[in-house]
Assembly symmetry: C2
Homo-oligomer: 88 residues x 2
Amino acid sequence: MFVILVYDINEKRVQKIHKICKKYLTPVQNSVFEGNITQATLRILKDELKEIMDENEDSVLIYKFRTKKYYDRESIGIKKPSHEDLFL
Amino acid sequence: MFVILVYDINEKRVQKIHKICKKYLTPVQNSVFEGNITQATLRILKDELKEIMDENEDSVLIYKFRTKKYYDRESIGIKKPSHEDLFL
């Protein structure tokens, strides 16, 4: 399964969330990750996110596709450094 | 064509970018939009974005799919109000 994950997280927790996502997916923009992942691993990822997230303040959106057959990903503007590059 | 658009924009310009995206797509999270759009309209949208964006500071990512056949979109945490709701 191919997923695109986008988060909107309070800056107090964003570093931890970024680290968790990076274990399982590839960063493509600030707060955007993508990659192939199994249902079982995605469940682990979501459990780890929920442990850190404040579900009253934070938001994560996951698009799931059967295959990586989006025919294009287009980028305008800069390729932002990841949060990890900014903070660590 | 179905698209997912994610932006990462300096707050000085984010309201304008949000307004432009909202003319053509549906907001689903802070900084995430989706919807069906033609190639021609997408070109107009990109031109409008480029007029406002500082391409050295801002970033927009567009995933394009032939159809809206992602089989799931999952949301964890709050449904954030849009920038428009926050600022206008």
